[in-house]
Subunit: 212 residues, 2 copies
């Protein structure tokens, strides 16, 4: 992988196992995805996609997240040269419907009250696209998340922190309150934060075989 | 809770829900536990216990972690006044045996090779002790962790980062490589890092009723 000369061996050694002779571009505006991708010690650039996350043609959650992840990656791949573009999209799904990012206190309260004492699903789609060849790969991860019974005063205190408003489902499991709303998860933790690291690593490894 | 005047409302609001009129002391030398407890926005001091983690009388993992968590908290509670002391102990358990912190490369390799393509358990015991009344509470959390099939070169690269050596089971799920070794978990994520936040929060809330 290029552009890693300034990183320490402790941080970049994971990239020694993946050989991608292109610049890696993350097509995402999410600060949490940026932080998670940095965890892997991979050098990358960020380009913000302008894809409308409410505009999709599929109905099933695993199809929706893969459709949107591909759209984000493709939009960016169309403008960047010599790049491997990573797109991702995450939805919170509970009993047949998507819980969006809340637009106000009331919607945040309703989302969290609804999630209380229920199990919901988090789906993330990822897409890899080579901007020169348009070769692509899409995949998804699915995690079950069980919320404990929340007290109204806990929900209200969390809303006062402002945390719910940039997050699908109105919570972040990596936040102070979000962390203690969750009783149990089944699946990949980082998927809930917005980027399933094990899946991404395995798919980057698979995709890198195109460059041998 | 006392001593929170210098914290922002965004960070300390979780503590508004727990009323403990004592100084909180974390009886742990783990930097990861310190970081996780900070996530809750709780003000606390750290005192390092000198308890021998290999010295316990119980045999079952849920008993061992609670015994050691209590011992750590008790040792510190005996020297601190006006405090609520939190002790914790985590073990990695696979097919009837404890996987300790590895002492050299070879042991780290053997631990990780053994965890590869297997499901293991992580147990954390927590203990709360009021240093004045000796009133106490112990509890535990249990999480199942599934490792994917690891390649030897992945294990060797992880060992070169130095990460395995201060960690039970020779991995950290919050590390670069550790994160991508794990396929799936069932239970609480923060338990794997060393401090089950939801359990701790609920037990602090329960314990705080002693102060009403």
């Amino acid at each position: 992988m290029n552009m890693q000369s300034n990183m320490t061996s402790q941080n970049n050694s994971i990239t020694d196992l993946i050989h991608i002779p292109k610049e890696i571009v993350l097509a995402s505006s999410s600060p949490r995805r940026k932080k998670l991708l940095e965890t892997l010690g991979i050098e990358f650039r960020i380009v913000h996609p302008s894809v409308d996350e409410d505009d999709f043609t599929n109905h099933e959650p695993i199809e929706i997240v893969q459709e949107l992840a591909y759209k984000k990656a493709k939009e960016v791949a169309d403008t960047e040269k010599d790049s491997l573009v990573i797109g991702a999209d995450t939805i919170v799904w509970c009993e047949g419907k998507i819980l969006t990012k809340p637009i106000n206190d009331e919607e945040a309260f309703n989302h969290l009250k609804y999630l209380s004492n229920r199990t919901h699903s988090v789906f993330t789609g990822i897409a890899l696209i080579d901007s020169d060849t348009n070769l692509s790969l899409v995949a998804y991860e699915h995690t079950l998340v069980r919320f404990r019974q929340l007290e109204d005063e806990e929900i209200l205190a969390y809303i006062r922190t402002g945390s719910p408003f940039d997050k699908a489902g109105a919570y972040g499991i990596q936040d102070d309150f979000g962390a203690v709303f969750v009783n149990k998860i089944i699946g990949d933790f980082y998927n809930i934060v917005g980027l399933p690291l094990t899946l991404l690593y395995l798919k980057l490894k698979e995709f890198s075989k195109n460059y041998i």
